[in-house]
């Protein structure tokens, strides 16, 4: 039980640090981005990836034996790791990447919003409850949609 409390506090600390590091800053030096999120440095992509992969491995292990009931923390770890990848900078940040990011952030918000609503209603239809959903589901969906859309767009521009 104490282990869960400590882990919760660790997650609260990590989330607080993320909120502090990615706070909105006012910057008029880059046009069109007067109000923008202060993104994390490039190497945070690797940290996010390691967190996600480790959480997936732990999720796999905890499927077999879970004495402290810690499975939900691994789900939270996956969505936090994916969020960190989303909120970190690219290797070269220029105005096209910023425009691309704005576009895909909006796109992913839109798709995951309706995706989650449709999924929840379908779940209700087959006899589930609307309250079956935890916070990690929309978070992960949004991050995955964002990452795939962003990289698809970037590849399209690079190969054109």
């Amino acid at each position: 039980m104490e282990f869960r409390i400590i882990l919760s506090l660790v997650f609260i600390g990590i989330t607080g640090l993320l909120i502090y590091k990615t706070r909105i800053k006012t910057n008029t030096s880059i046009p069109g981005t007067e109000l923008r999120i202060n993104l994390l440095p490039y190497y945070y992509k690797k940290i996010g990836l390691i967190t996600t992969v480790l959480s997936l491995v732990f999720l796999f292990i905890l499927n077999f034996t879970d004495p402290y009931n810690l499975k939900d923390f691994t789900l939270l770890g996956i969505s936090l790791g994916l969020s960190v990848i989303c909120l970190s900078k690219e290797r070269i940040e220029d105005e096209m990447i910023i425009a691309l990011r704005m576009n895909t952030f909006f796109k992913s918000f839109y798709f995951s919003l309706f995706g989650v609503i449709i999924y929840a209603l379908l779940n209700k239809l087959v006899g589930g409850q609307l309250s079956d959903f935890s916070i990690d589901f929309p978070l992960s969906i949004m991050s995955i949609v964002y990452l795939s859309a962003f990289h698809q767009q970037k590849k399209l521009l690079a190969n054109s």
């Binding site: 096209m96 521009l157 054109s160």
Partner: protein, 66 residues
């Protein structure tokens, strides 16, 4: 919008990579500007025009779709 960056780049004998490095953007950005997929900001357009020593109006011009 049409642009003559590719022609000017050929005259100056610069690759996309070199031009990108000089004005501080990625090669993909130069590529997509040349292919008319991305409209650069005024700041970037002025940087390009300063490098090629031509006015922005000579480099970029409107077409019938604008």
């Amino acid at each position: 919008m049409k642009n003559k960056i590719k022609i000017e780049r050929a005259i100056k004998d610069l690759t996309q990579e070199e031009l990108a490095k000089i004005i501080g953007v990625s090669r993909q950005t130069i590529n997509s500007i040349e292919k008319n997929r991305f409209v650069p900001s005024t700041v970037l357009a002025l940087k390009i025009s300063k490098l090629f020593e031509k006015s922005v109006n000579e480099l970029f011009e409107l077409d019938q779709f604008d």
